[in-house]
């Protein structure tokens, strides 16, 4: 089944990483994804800009409202995602635990199975 792994973290801390710290973490995160990529199970992976770059469109009375910032003002912000084909939830949990163990930040990984997924071709 296709899963989204949504990464939530305290963005003030994440965006305070130095370039070296960030490069080290990213390298380790890549290493965790590599086996899945080789097995052809890794779908799109995305890293999001800070929430300061976000815009939210919300249902308004007549017309939709355009609001600066992320949808929810939460302590942890959605900062990235993976789309991966796992056979079982156990595999998804194991993968997320691996990500967590190489990531020094207090990132939480939310595992959400897909109903529908259209890969599209915008980024390919």
């Amino acid at each position: 089944m296709l899963y989204a792994i949504l990464c939530y973290a305290h963005e003030e801390t994440v965006f305070a990483w130095t370039k070296e710290e960030e490069a080290a973490v990213m390298e380790k995160l890549y290493a965790v994804q590599e086996p899945l990529a080789k097995a052809g199970k890794l779908g799109p992976v995305g890293r999001l800009m800070p929430t300061t770059a976000a815009t939210t469109v919300r249902k308004g009375k007549d017309e939709a409202l355009v609001i600066d910032g992320p949808f929810a003002e939460t302590k942890e912000a959605l900062l990235g995602f993976y789309v991966i084909d796992f056979d079982t939830l156990e595999e998804a949990v194991a993968f997320s635990k691996q990500l967590s163990s190489v990531n020094p930040g207090s990132t939480s990984y939310e595992i959400r199975p897909f109903y529908v997924f259209r890969p599209g071709d915008a980024a390919s």
């Binding site: 003030e12 801390t13 965006f15 800009m49 800070p50 300061t52 770059a53 910032g69 003002e73 020094p104």
Partner: protein
Amino acid sequence: MTDIAWIDLALASARPKALGALLRYFRDLDTAEEAFQEACLRAIRTWPEKGPPRDPTAWLIFVGRNSGIDAVRKRSKLQALPDEDTISDTEDAESDIAERLDDSNYRDDILRLLFICCHPDLPATQQIALALRIVSGLSVPQIARAFLVSESAMEQRITRAKARVAKAGVPFETPSPQERAERLSIVSTMIYLIFNEGYSQADPKREAAAFSDEAIRLARLILRIFPSEPELMGLLALMLLQISRRQARFSPEGEIVLLEDQDRSLWNQPFINEALALLDKALRHRRPGPFQLQAAIAAIHSRAKRAEDTDWVEIDLLYRALERIQPSPVVTLNRAVVISKLQGPQDALDLVDPLGEKLDGYFYYHGLRGNLLKQLGRNGQAREAFDRAIALAQSAAEAAHIRHQIDKMQEDAARPIAK
């Protein structure tokens, strides 16, 4: 990164919010700083064992407030609060305080903390030093190294600046919308000063070079709590566009590389993309300001794949708009560069010459004049202008850049004779 390194980072990034809230609570900068310091010490002791709290900022405010109250009571010889073991289990209280201390509360706290560093009596360098000490939490030795002064001199400077701020009184009442807008504008300018203090460093290893990153962090922080301020978006976009060229601005020998000669493949594309996204957001508000216009100008350069693709007509329009809302000889000087591209060196020189009175002590004025005179073949006058520029250069890189132009001029002049 170790766990301890992560904790350090979490403490540093929580600092402006937590210290701002503690300042509101204790109404005294020293007490607030001590309380925050104490909370950090407790965090270092307890987080590795218990794991980091979900909301480090709320935890630090809660623990800092208690230890501050404790300290105040001890000083006034009243009954002390229960010791930390009994209050260290803060789970419930922490989530409660986190609810109440929502961003609407933090907003004015953080703004106040930044604003008190911008006291008009303090010269710009002291404002920067104070903000880096108080808001960013850099140590005095770190700041001293960056400003190339002794630790004791910097310690004195910061102590004096703090005393000045304390004497002026910290404004605790909730600001009116107009006051808030004014504070935002003053604080934005100060953040940009911090940025430039770092950006003007040719050597990326110099301590001060990190100030640019710190300024970007502060701008993101303040934009997060004031998400609909187009000028804050403009400020952040401008700094991101400038810093995106960090790797291309200097040659390996440390010499300045002009924008048109830079290797554009060295520009940091993610920063550029983020800046363009911010500018798009800012434009929707239709409230242009100096930072947005400067960012829009920088963005046109960033969008051009090659120097010769630059849309100078659009840049000229933006500079004209900037001259209207923020008239300044430096802006006109910058527009002269555009005019030299669009109409040639003579028209540019006609625009530059009247600025002499105001910009006579300015490196770039003489540098540009020399360059324009050189293009017009008036080598004698060009040489005079270049010499003047070298005398005013504030770094070896600036002086080397001008010398390079003189060398080229002499080479070009010598060529026909050599043939």
